[in-house]
Assembly symmetry: C2
Homo-oligomer: 163 residues x 2
Amino acid sequence: MGKRELSLEHADALGQGLLDIGRASKASGVSVKMIRHYEAIGLLTKVGRTHANYRVYTDKDVHTLRFIKRARTLGFSMDDIRQLLALWQNRSRPSASVKKIAGGHMQVLKRRILEMQSMVATLEHLTHNCHGDSRPDCPILEDLAGDGHGNSGGTARSGHLPL
Amino acid sequence: MGKRELSLEHADALGQGLLDIGRASKASGVSVKMIRHYEAIGLLTKVGRTHANYRVYTDKDVHTLRFIKRARTLGFSMDDIRQLLALWQNRSRPSASVKKIAGGHMQVLKRRILEMQSMVATLEHLTHNCHGDSRPDCPILEDLAGDGHGNSGGTARSGHLPL
DNA sequence: CTTGACCTTCCCATGATAGGAGGGTCCAAT
DNA sequence: ATTGGACCCTCCTATCATGGGAAGGTCAAG
C-alpha cells in the first residue's frame, strides 16, 4: 500500500538530507508529538515548512533532537536542556558552565535517590515484619495509621452532624 | 487580630473533637488544598458541613488524613493509597493484600533508583573528565551531542536499563 | 460596624508526555 | 481520474499531585 517514499522534493528549495517530521522522529528517537512540543516551547528554532505547511528537518535539526533526547535520558530538565543547548551552540562557552549544570543536576538526582532509598528501607522493614497471609494483622497498615493506636474502630464516638 | 478561637459551636450539634479544615490541616500535616482535593477524588468520604457550609472534620477524618500523609511520605501513588485505605477500613483484610501493594511499590521505587543511579554514574564519569574551566572543550557536551567519542568509558553511551 | 482571619467554589498552572478529533496532503494502486 | 491510506496539520484534553489566586460568604473580636 502507499508507503510514501521520500519526496517533498517538490517543496520550494531543497537538496537532500531533508526529512519530514515522521522521519526526523525515527532518526532522532524523539516522538512526533514531542518534536512539535519542543518547537512550541522554543527549544528548537523554527524549522522550515513545505508549501503544504509540512515541517522540514535538516540534519542539524535532527542532531539537536538527538542531543535533547540524550539529555532527557540523563534526566536533565527541559530548563537545563535549554541552557545546555545554548552552550553547545556557543563555541566559546566555558566548560565550567556546562559542568556546573551537570553538577547541579547530579545533586538533585542524588537527593532524590536518597529519599527513595529511605522509603524503600522503611518499606522493606515493614514488609519484612508482615506475615502476608490471610490474617488481618499488618505492621504496614499500623505504621500508616500512625502506629500509636492499632486503630480503626477506636474513636467511634463520632458526633452526628445534622445539617 | 481576630484570631478566631475554636468555635463552630454554633453549628447545630457538636461536642468536641470537631475541627474546621484549617485545624484539620494543622492536625494532619495535609494542606487545606489537598484535603479538599482528596475529598473531591473520593479518598475521603464526604465530611460533614456546618450550616454555613464549612467542612467539619472528626478525629477519625483527621486520622485518615494522617494515614494518607504517611503513605505519600512513603511514596505511594494515590491509587495505591486508595486501596490501602480500603484495606485499612476492612477489618477482615488479608495482610497479604497489603503486603502485595507495598511490594509492588517497592519494585517501582527500586527500578527508579536504579535508573537514577545509572544517570548519576554516567554524569559522574563525564564531569570527572571535564576540566570545568574557561575553555570550551567539554566531554559532557560531546556525549550529549553524540559526536564521535563522547564516550570514552564504559558506562557512557547506554542510558537504558532493562525495565 | 468594621476588620481580618478564615471559609467556600471555580479556574488556571506546573512538567513531560500522550491521545484524539477534524481536516488537509501526498502518492501509489486501482 | 479516483480512491485508499499513510502521513501531515492544528487544537483540545488528559495525566499526577500540588499550589496559586480570584470573588465572595461567615464569624469572632475590637
